[in-house]
Amino acid sequence: MSTREKVRHLLEQSGSLTLLLSLAAVLFALVAGAIMLVLTRHNPAVAYAALWKGAFGSRRGIGETLLSTTPLILGGLAVTIAFRCGLFNMGVEGQIALGGLGAAWAGYWIRGLPAYIHQPFALLVGVLLSVIWGAIPGYLKARFKMHEVITTIMLNYIAFNIDGWAVAVGGPMKDPGPLPASPVILATAKLPRILPQTRAHAGIFIALACVVLVWYLLFHTRLGYCIRAVGLNPTAAEYGGINVPRHLVATMAISGALGGLAGAVEVLGVHYRLFEAFSPGYGWDAIAVALLGMLHPVGTLLSALLFGALRSGSTLMQTVANISRDMVMVISGLVIFFIALTRPLGGAVHTSRGGQSGADLDA
């Protein structure tokens, strides 16, 4: 073997090859982003400096970073667990919308509960809605082989419209004020702030807990084993006695729950009310987060932190260098692009449509 092959083999064995590739993907994305900034007559140095300073340079910045990281962890976990079962959950954005709706409703409608009951209950209501929103595409896939990319995306639009309807004039959740938003939730429903003089809230702990839970689920439980087996080879999983359709639905339900939790946490911790499009595209970032995180809960945590920093830093970037916050989306897309470049044949995700995807038990 040549030296290059030897090095590659060594890295592969220690598992750090994928890590290096992920880091490389981020680097390339930032470089490509810089090129794009230059082409659009911006100064990348100023832009990235603002980005860094905005994310970590001040107490307020760190708070904002934590704040953005929270829904990204949860969304990333949602996408991760779906991918592990061979499913593409493109519906996190819609699940966030419905999770927020449920949490907001429980937050302002239910009175007389102490905080330590009200908050979990409100989160639960949000999760309940999004579990259904996740289970539907799961069921459609398991029973009818309908590809979840299309069904989750269609459900996104329907969810956005539900949110919009709820807080529009004449809608059931509209606050009797001038804004197209729900009433503010009760103080008992608000997630406590954890860093004074910032907006960072206790949701981060919920997110971290979920990282541990998902890790344990995937690698130490029977359900996790079955999920991974179905994701890698549903034909063999079936042979091994695993009920593939049931696991598809279950995984999408769990994924939907995590997505909805992201939305619920956002409403209860940041906005304190429901309004349309309260998520600035967290559901899409979640996809990049999961892929960058190598579909592992801990990787997801780290890459969520990266994207959270990007998001929070982009506010300062906008103020100082006059670059739209959408730059984050551009970098997000670039990261996925570069990851795709380094993963021939899809890496750990063996799916396509109709032919060999997570529910193909026949051919």
């Binding site: 439980t221 029977r222 087996a229 890698l232 080879n233 063999a236 999983a237 042979y239 091994g240 006695g241």
Partner: protein
């Protein structure tokens, strides 16, 4: 005789393996030249190079005295070389004509001229006596006819030299005879044929000369006349090979498996099983012979809970397990060695440990409530690797990295661990080299002497005849006939496999009871 093809010093490397190592091959004009070697010896690679699908790392190809460079099959076709692949290169949803003209289409302006093409197909078909219906869709045609169309495809492109890659794998003995006739006819018309196979008998029957490959190198080239199976086997493997496995005397017990009048459909909704009934007793090995596609796959799937039966019963140890979930079959002592080890038998990206858990994930000691105890699984893995001598750097490596033989060993180990009373083995030695095949046969015999019942499904007739106590032949989803292995001949089985009848058909219930 002039050489029509010379391959000199051909070397081809793939990551981690040298498939062809300085191979020299000379083919005479108008001969049938056999290329013999085990699975993985490098025969197909060599021919793929000749056909332009691969480019050699070193070496030269000389066709009719001219040095050639093939960048793609187009170039090889232009020089008169045609290839019929082991796995057909026919597009199922296209018609015969569309498949034949693809890449060499006739056009009228911008549009395809299918009418003229169909005429040409009929012309060609008449000229060579290879009947084919131009408008038929490939997926509706039986396998034997599909192969004929592959040959027509090569002839359509004026192939003078034909490479046939393991063509007999999917044919009944009678169809193999017909193929031999076609080959002789082509030779008579001046064509040259290179015939790739791993079956010794075929070399001796049809070939003029033979080249034996082993581990990517040429062992020798000789005239086929005067060779014996044993000498060929020795050249192929490098040592003396046990051509027939030792089979101890049988001791039968009561029926473990009773299949009653089973009906089932295949993936396309067409009838696949049309009233199958059979029995297997403890200590008995029943072989299911038949050309692939006559319901064997569906039968195995119904017997392991992977396919719904429309009607009929499957009784294991007296218990009705019809249409139960695969886990129920495992729980009732049914082991399954699946035909396609990469698709059904293993999860290639899982580690060996995780693969050993497959089917055991809900059982103690591995399952404890919702938890899965990987530590216990590792203990199992270490034990199994040692017991069956599975060659692997560690138990944590992905199953993908193991060789075919070791992968099959892992599957066997796992299934035997279930202590099944009934073992259903489907194509257990497909794609394995001689050493691994020997091993599998020995293991099956061992299970049989320990009193297990075995249902063996295989498309290798010699394997069935070697190992079975009783042989059942399947044809078009029915049991066409059942024969005592001791009395079975290839002619008899071949006849049954093609849908014929034999005079004295033995009753289906129960084996021949030993005194």
């Amino acid at each position: 005789m002039p050489y029509v093809i010379e391959m000199r010093g051909i070397t081809k490397r793939f990551p981690g393996v040298v498939a062809n190592h300085h191979i020299n091959l000379s083919i005479e004009q108008g001969e049938i030249h056999g290329l013999l070697g085990e699975n993985g010896a490098g025969k197909t690679t060599l021919m793929n190079i000749l056909y332009g699908l691969y480019r050699p790392d070193e070496g030269q190809i000389i066709v009719r005295g001219e040095l050639v460079h093939f960048d793609s099959p187009r170039d090889a076709i232009a020089k008169g070389i045609g290839m019929v692949h082991q796995h057909f290169m026919l597009i199922p949803v296209f018609t015969v004509t569309e498949n034949l003209v693809l890449g060499a289409e006739l056009t009228k302006g911008i549009a395809l001229d299918m009418a003229t093409a169909e005429d040409k197909v009929r012309e060609l078909s008449d000229k060579y006596g290879l009947k084919a219906e131009p408008g038929a869709r490939i997926e509706d045609l039986p396998v034997g006819i599909q192969q004929r169309i592959e040959i027509l495809k090569a002839l359509y492109r004026n192939a003078d030299i034909m490479i046939l890659d393991e063509p007999t794998a999917v044919l009944t003995p009678q169809e193999v005879e017909e193929l031999y006739n076609v080959m002789r006819m082509l030779r008579q018309r001046g064509h040259t044929i290179i015939f790739i196979t791993h079956k010794l008998r075929e070399i001796l029957t049809i070939c003029d000369r033979v080249t034996v490959l082993r581990d990517g190198k040429v062992v020798g080239t000789q005239s086929a006349h005067g060779l014996t199976e044993a000498s060929l086997a020795r050249m192929m493997v490098g040592r003396d090979v046990l051509l027939r496995v030792e089979k101890p005397v049988a001791a039968y017990g009561k029926p473990i498996l009773e299949v009653q009048d089973l009906y089932a459909r295949d993936n396309r909704g067409l009838p696949a099983l049309n009233g199958v009934s059979l029995n297997v007793c403890t200590g008995e090995l029943v072989g299911v012979a038949g050309v692939e596609g006559n319901g064997q796959t569906e039968l195995v799937e119904v017997l392991t809970g992977l396919r719904r039966a429309e009607s009929g019963k499957v009784l294991v140890n007296g218990r009705d397990l019809t249409n139960q979930h695969p886990s129920k079959f495992f729980a009732n002592g049914v082991g399954h060695i699946p035909a396609d080890r990469h698709r059904r038998g293993l999860i290639l990206d899982f580690s060996l440990v995780e693969n050993f858990l497959l089917g055991f994930q809900d059982c103690p000691p591995f399952a404890e409530g919702p938890r899965l105890k990987y530590a216990e699984a590792r203990k199992l893995a270490r034990r199994l690797v040692q017991n069956l001598d599975i060659r692997t750097p560690s138990i944590e490596v992905p199953a993908r990295t193991l060789s075919g033989g070791n992968q099959q060993k892992a599957i066997l180990a796992r299934e035997f661990e279930r202590q099944p009373q009934l073992l259903i083995a489907a194509q257990p030695t497909r794609g394995l080299d001689v050493g691994a095949t020997e091993f599998v046969h020995q293991q099956l015999m061992k299970q049989r002497s320990e009193g297990k019942a075995i249902l063996l499904v295989s498309s290798e007739l010699s394997e069935i005849m070697d190992l079975s106590d009783r042989i059942i032949v399947m044809y078009e989803g029915r049991v066409q006939g059942a024969v005592d292995a001791a009395k079975a001949t290839e002619e008899m089985l071949g006849l049954l496999m093609a849908g014929g009848q034999i005079e004295k058909a033995r009753p289906l219930e129960g084996p021949h009871v030993n005194p």
